[in-house]
Symmetry: C2
């Protein structure tokens, strides 16, 4: 049984300038905190989320026993990131569909729902918005910033954009940028959404519809890339859904894997916002700290002052270990202190959310050492 | 400059019973032949095609200088499969959209276009249809049956279904069946097509439309899986299409890889039939000779009498070398004669269509040895 989490929201009047040239004002950030901020305000840990997650990182909501946060196995009292020692903050990013201001909300400049007009947001923009939230919470410096996948990109970005505010950056199952194949999968998912007639150029809210077909396809593609080949073969293989007889049909479900993917797609299309999907995958595409340094990651990371933990998973082909090693190498070339764990796990990219004891052990040790530093 | 190829077509009155229980009659098979059948009728080579290909395997059509067949680098006078020595037959499979009877043709039982009523066809059905064509051409036994990818599955199937008719089976970049990930990608592509409102349950011909959105998505997914990560990074990387400035847009093309995929998707949707896409990917899903032997491939391959050449490519993650090795292992366990070449090529699954000199060299040597056997 997990602890009770309580969501909060903070309003920001002042315009936040965005990388793309636009700005956003009168916006809300949904967030949660777990544990207590100590008197020195030195035990704060910020958790950044990936595509399909939110500020609800750990704990359960009152009277909703099955509402565990997405990293509840990692964060909580006595857990690897121990909320008896750390003050943990989860924040929902701008453009998301889980509470912070996003494309389904009213644009204060027009009085109408943003829809397609919601500005493109980047990892840098999210980090800046998170920094303002920390300002308001009275937190100058983070004991650690932590994230997996796209969340890891935010953790890395924090250490470059606000180096004086980050003691440790923990970057899990991430990459210094997306490669061509990653962008390609994102692009196919986006095209599926955008070409769904129910998308209406992003203004589907006005039409009372949701581009469900596109969202389903996007989620199915996503799921394939989150899982390893091995785990898919073990979990589903060529197993038929209904007994042993083939149906000989191109449209009926024949194999278990088809049933699983359709189910995941249907579920996702019930709650995820299509514009959010576009925005978040685009933020992934754009993230590339080396870009401003002619592609030289080592020069890009020279700005950092943090200590790092990098973690990758052997069967993750979406953000392969080689991509984490690029970051490790560039940090070492800058004489930064970096720990790196490559976990031999079968679960593909999804491993960063799962209960691998070696993975959780590495995280526990690292956060114990941070706790000692601030004690 | 290649030689001139001339397409032919053969009509079949008699019903062909299909694995799915249905049958098809009054159908056409489009085919081409290159070279001369020798007096002993012992030099025939059948080439089986994969998803997006046809009977037009080699040569060019008269007055169409850029109309090279899909395996023109492999087959022709003086080429690895030398048409000065071999009588090569290319045949378009049932259900395809390149000349043989398919879902866009009239159903003789109803007088209306087949559409969604075209029966599901399997690799076994294609092989049986090909066998009837060979009967009509007066060819009892093949010097070799040859194919890449899905074409390789047909070559393997030939050696099991008509063992007495096959001297050599050449199986390139193929697999004994699709794994869960392969089926998953096929399923997403099919869902994209089937949920396109212009699909009309497969009867879009009656509505004068084409489910272009779905076909585009299907092709984009396909293209990602045909290429290796390496080749995508080399060819496209994170290169922007328009200069150095980002546009900060979720829908405009930003990266070269997006431009490439959209172009491929558009082109494909201009000429490929949506029902054909469903049928052919389903044939891929269903192929599994071990199925009738409780998953035991060695027992499945006990029926074969042919000699084999298997070829795989190191960076092919769609039909990985490990899958070819499964076939090799099972053939060896049956004491069959098998040669196996694992080509260290950067191009992913596409490599089987490309000009890798080691690959073409292996094929040339193997076909030279076949030519000596029949000389």
């Amino acid at each position: 049984m997990s602890f009770i989490a309580t969501p909060s929201s903070m309003h920001f009047e002042q315009a936040l300038p965005l990388q793309g040239g636009a700005s956003i004002h009168h916006y809300e950030l949904a967030y949660e905190t777990y544990g207590e901020l100590n008197a020195e305000r030195s035990n704060a840990v910020l958790v950044c989320h990936a595509l399909n997650a939110s500020h609800h990182v750990a704990g359960v909501y009152a009277d909703q026993p099955r509402s565990e946060g997405w990293w509840d196995n990692m964060i909580g009292p006595g857990k690897p990131v121990d909320t008896n020692r750390f003050f943990v903050i989860g924040v929902n990013n701008l453009g998301s569909c889980f509470g912070s201001t996003g494309p389904m909300h009213e644009n204060p400049d027009t009085g109408r729902v943003y829809g397609a007009d919601f500005p493109v947001v980047t990892v840098e923009d999210w980090v800046d918005a998170q920094a303002r939230l920390l300002d308001r919470l009275g937190i100058t410096r983070l004991a650690a910033v932590l994230g997996g996948s796209l969340g890891g990109m935010q953790a890395l970005c924090w250490s470059l954009r606000h180096p004086e505010r980050v003691a440790h950056a923990v970057v899990v199952a991430s990459a210094p940028n997306l490669n061509a194949e990653n962008i390609a999968f994102n692009e196919v998912a986006r095209r599926a959404i955008v070409t769904d007639p129910d998308f209406h150029g992003g203004n589907f809210y006005d039409h009372g519809v949701v581009p469900r077909r596109g969202l389903r396809i996007a989620r199915m593609i996503g799921h394939i890339t989150y899982l390893s080949d091995d785990v898919m073969n073990k979990k589903f293989g060529r197993q038929l859904r209904d007994g042993l007889e083939l149906k000989y049909s191109t449209q009926d479900i024949e194999f278990e894997i088809e049933s699983y993917l359709r189910y995941q797609g249907d579920k996702f299309s019930d709650y995820f916002d299509a514009n959010t999907y576009l925005l978040i995958t685009r933020a992934l595409d754009y993230f590339d700290p080396a870009r401003a340094h002619a592609g030289n990651l080592t020069r890009a990371l020279a700005a950092s002052q943090a200590k790092y933990l990098l973690v990758s998973f052997s069967t993750d082909w979406r953000f392969a270990p080689a991509r984490s090693r690029e970051i490790v190498k560039s940090l070492l070339e800058n004489q930064r202190r970096v720990s790196y764990a490559e976990i031999d796990a079968p679960h593909g990219h999804d491993a960063f959310l799962l209960d691998d004891p070696r993975y959780l052990g590495v995280m526990r040790s690292y956060f114990e050492s941070i706790a000692k530093e601030i004690a």
